[in-house]
């Protein structure tokens, strides 16, 4: 669907992107994660042909990216902005037509989205008459109005209250299920972890980690387990390196266990159940944020 191949970009002595490659697939959500100033927006601007890379190329459906193909993209920039004195429907019509939509299909889509996000009554309102959250919603609709095959969302949830953020999240997942491929860029990694299928972690213009979220977390797991139980465990057990205990309000104790290398999980669980009443257990996987801090902390 979208393929970025060894893209580099330098600005006046500063490296914005260094040899970045990634591949986003149809019907998947791709997370472009990294702190502010990592180069996410630079990469997006290259993908959307706003700027050109110094080297490397971008392919869209196996075709080299060019301005003709940009119509297939819907881009919600981090810095939002619309014409303040224009009505919502005029604005939608204008941006839709700029994306090559016919007026009729533009109106059709407007009906669909305004109905769906409960915005029908705003049609004739000027943007400046709407609240900030409402403006954000309008902007989201304008991004997806032309039914793009690739949707690029830069910090999509900033500026939304939790209810609307959830609403947008649902819409994003629905669009993914309908076959759009979504590139989601954010510095708030925890907010998108559950959304993304694949990720790239970017720091200072370089990809520091890449892959499917599941695999990444598996790869960086420290093989730790959490058990919740009633009763008391002995201070030391065979096959367990260390343990951290934490008592919950309801009296249940949660313990994080770090087994010794080669220890069998079944053995450990059997041993635990012989001492206490085991309520819950799960393998603890690191969050993307933890992994990022681990990686970047290492390199720094």
């Amino acid at each position: 669907m979208l393929k970025v191949e060894s893209v580099s970009k330098h600005y006046a002595g500063k490296t914005a992107l260094n040899n970045v490659s990634l591949e986003a697939h149809t019907g998947k959500i791709y997370g472009l994660l990294g702190p502010n100033g990592a180069g996410k927006t630079s990469l997006i601007r290259i993908i959307t042909c706003i700027t050109a890379p110094d080297s490397g190329s971008v392919y869209f459906n196996n075709e080299k990216m060019q301005s003709r193909l940009i119509r297939e993209i819907g881009y919600l920039p981090e810095e939002r902005g619309l014409y303040r004195k224009m009505t919502v429907s005029d604005q939608a019509l204008y941006f839709g037509q700029l994306k090559g939509m016919a007026k009729s299909s533009c109106l059709e889509q407007m009906d669909f989205w305004f109905e769906r996000l409960d915005m029908q009554s705003w049609r004739k309102k000027k943007l400046e008459e709407l609240s900030k959250g409402m403006q954000q919603k309008v902007q989201f609709v304008l991004t997806v109005l032309h039914q793009p095959k690739l949707i690029i969302l830069d910090e999509p949830f900033s500026g939304f209250d939790p209810i609307n953020a959830e609403l947008i999240k649902t819409e994003v997942m629905r669009l993914r299920d309908e076959g759009a491929s979504i590139l989601l860029s954010t510095h708030r990694m925890e907010s998108v972890e559950e959304l993304c299928d694949d990720i790239s972690l970017i720091n200072q213009g370089e990809v520091v980690l890449q892959g499917a979220v599941k695999e990444v977390r598996q790869k960086y797991k420290k093989s730790a387990y959490m058990i919740a139980y009633e009763g008391n465990l002995p201070a030391e057990m065979r096959g367990i390196q260390s343990m951290n205990h934490h008592q919950r309000r309801d009296g249940v104790i949660e313990t994080t266990m770090f087994p010794e290398a080669g220890a069998s999980l079944t053995d450990i669980l059997q041993m635990v159940s012989s001492h206490v009443h085991l309520l819950e257990y799960r393998e603890m996987l690191p969050s993307i944020k933890d992994i990022f801090i681990q990686l970047v902390g290492k390199s720094a």
């Binding site: 706003i50 050109a52 940009i70 993209i73 902005g81 619309l82 204008y94 700029l98």
Partner: protein
């Protein structure tokens, strides 16, 4: 191309629908007519000063003992019996040592000061009297003198191929200056609108949304073209309304003018010549080639506006806030201001001179300088060359401006230096 149209349509409609635009467009010609009407009315009411004034002349030299002829509503009373009458407007005192060869020391006293025209009238009358006496002293008789009085009025005409056209340099200069001034005004008026529009899109961060659908060049051109159409709409409405106004007002003024001329003729020595001269100016006005004037006005207006507004757009794209544009505005508008200043003096005095010719070739100054020259008659090859330069100049400037624009609109933070602007032109992509 389609996007340029879409963008310019939005720019056009969003401006034309504004109340302020509608009001200004409809009221403009009336306001201008009102303005000029007021000036003409004031001027006329001033010249229609018909009050008769008596001047008391206390002549100690005896030079004016034969009296001074009345003129310009001034009546002179030389050493009358009654010097105390309150009906005198002022007193003219001629000292005893005042003589024909050294007519110095005359003083005028009054409670109400003279204006320049009145003072001139009195001085003229004294000079005339002295001159007459000098001629008599030299042995010339008045009859001979009168026969020497000659009045010549050149009826300037322009040879255009085989046809002779009435010509009047005043009318030419006026027509040229009006055209040039309108171009000057419109470039500023609408160029600033382009600047504001770009600054608005940048500061509202609209630009990044649009730029993902439209090329920066299309966005810039769309805006420039849209606003140009707003300007042309306004000009068109103004021309039509002015035409209607002229059609209504001209007969009114004309009938007033005939009366003016007739009453003036009574006081003039050469009424026919005067009337002929006025008639010449009028027919010169009507013989001005309005079609080619308007066409070249439109050409230089459009291309000049395109050239300057592209630069305005580039400036606005480079800075974060509209207020920061001042620093870059000035150097860009210097050629425009310069050519307007030059047009007023040099071009009118020497419209086909070397400087005027050169300036009418340079795209930055030609819209104004050439506009002033055209009514005086410009050789076709010069006009064509100037227009070609203008087209190339506008393409080159727009191209360079768009290079700055496409980088500038996405740059936030510090205000760029001139060096950086130059560097932006060479950026890839």
């Amino acid at each position: 191309m389609k996007n340029i149209l879409l963008v310019s349509r939005r720019e056009y409609l969003s401006r034309v629908r504004k109340k302020s635009f509608v009001i200004m467009t409809l009221l403009g010609p009336f306001l201008v007519a009102l303005f000029y009407g007021a000036i003409i009315w004031l001027a006329l009411s001033d010249s229609q000063d018909n009050e008769e004034r008596n001047i008391l002349v206390l002549d100690e030299s005896g030079i004016f003992s034969e009296g001074i002829e009345s003129a310009s509503n001034f009546h002179y009373f030389v050493n009358p019996a009654d010097t105390q009458s309150s009906s005198y407007f002022g007193t003219l005192m001629i000292p005893s040592d005042f003589n024909l060869d050294h007519p110095d020391g005359a003083r005028y006293l009054s409670s109400e000061s003279l204006n320049i025209i009145q003072q001139n009238a009195i001085e003229n009358q004294l000079e005339k009297t002295i001159k007459a006496q000098k001629l008599v002293r030299a042995g010339l008789r008045k009859a001979t003198l009168d026969s020497l009085q000659t009045h010549v009025n050149i009826n300037a005409a322009k040879l255009d191929g085989d046809t002779i056209k009435e010509d009047s340099s005043a009318v030419n200069a006026g027509a040229g200056m009006i055209g040039a001034f309108l171009i000057y005004l419109f470039i500023f008026l609408y160029g600033v609108q382009v600047m504001k529009g770009v600054a608005e899109e940048k500061s509202n961060r609209i630009v990044e949304v649009i730029i993902s659908s439209v090329k920066p060049f299309d966005l810039m051109m769309g805006k420039i073209v849209g606003i140009a159409l707003v300007g042309l709409t306004q000009i068109f409405v103004w021309i039509v309304l002015s035409g209607i106004l002229m059609a209504v007002i001209t007969p009114m003024i004309a009938s007033g003018q005939v009366g003016e001329i007739q009453s003036a003729a009574q006081n003039m020595e050469h009424p026919m010549a005067q009337i002929q001269q006025q008639g010449g100016a009028l027919s010169a006005l009507f013989q001005l080639d309005f079609v080619s004037l308007i066409l070249s006005f439109l050409f230089y207006f459009i291309t000049g506006y395109l050239l300057y507004s592209a630069m305005f757009a580039a400036i606005a794209s480079a800075v974060d806030a509209e207020t920061d544009t001042q620093q870059f505005m000035f150097p860009i508008t210097i050629p425009l201001i310069f050519s307007m200043a030059i047009a007023q003096s040099l071009v009118i005095k020497d419209p086909n001179g070397e400087l005027a010719t050169w300036l009418s070739m340079i795209p930055f100054t030609s819209p104004i300088v050439m506009m002033v020259r055209i009514p005086f008659g410009v050789e076709s090859w010069q006009l064509i060359l100037s227009m070609l330069f203008m087209i190339f100049g506008f393409i080159a400037v727009t191209w360079l401006a768009s290079r700055i624009y496409r980088v500038g609109i996405l740059m936030y933070g510090k205000k760029p230096t001139y060096k950086e602007l130059l560097r932006w032109m060479t950026y890839k992509g």
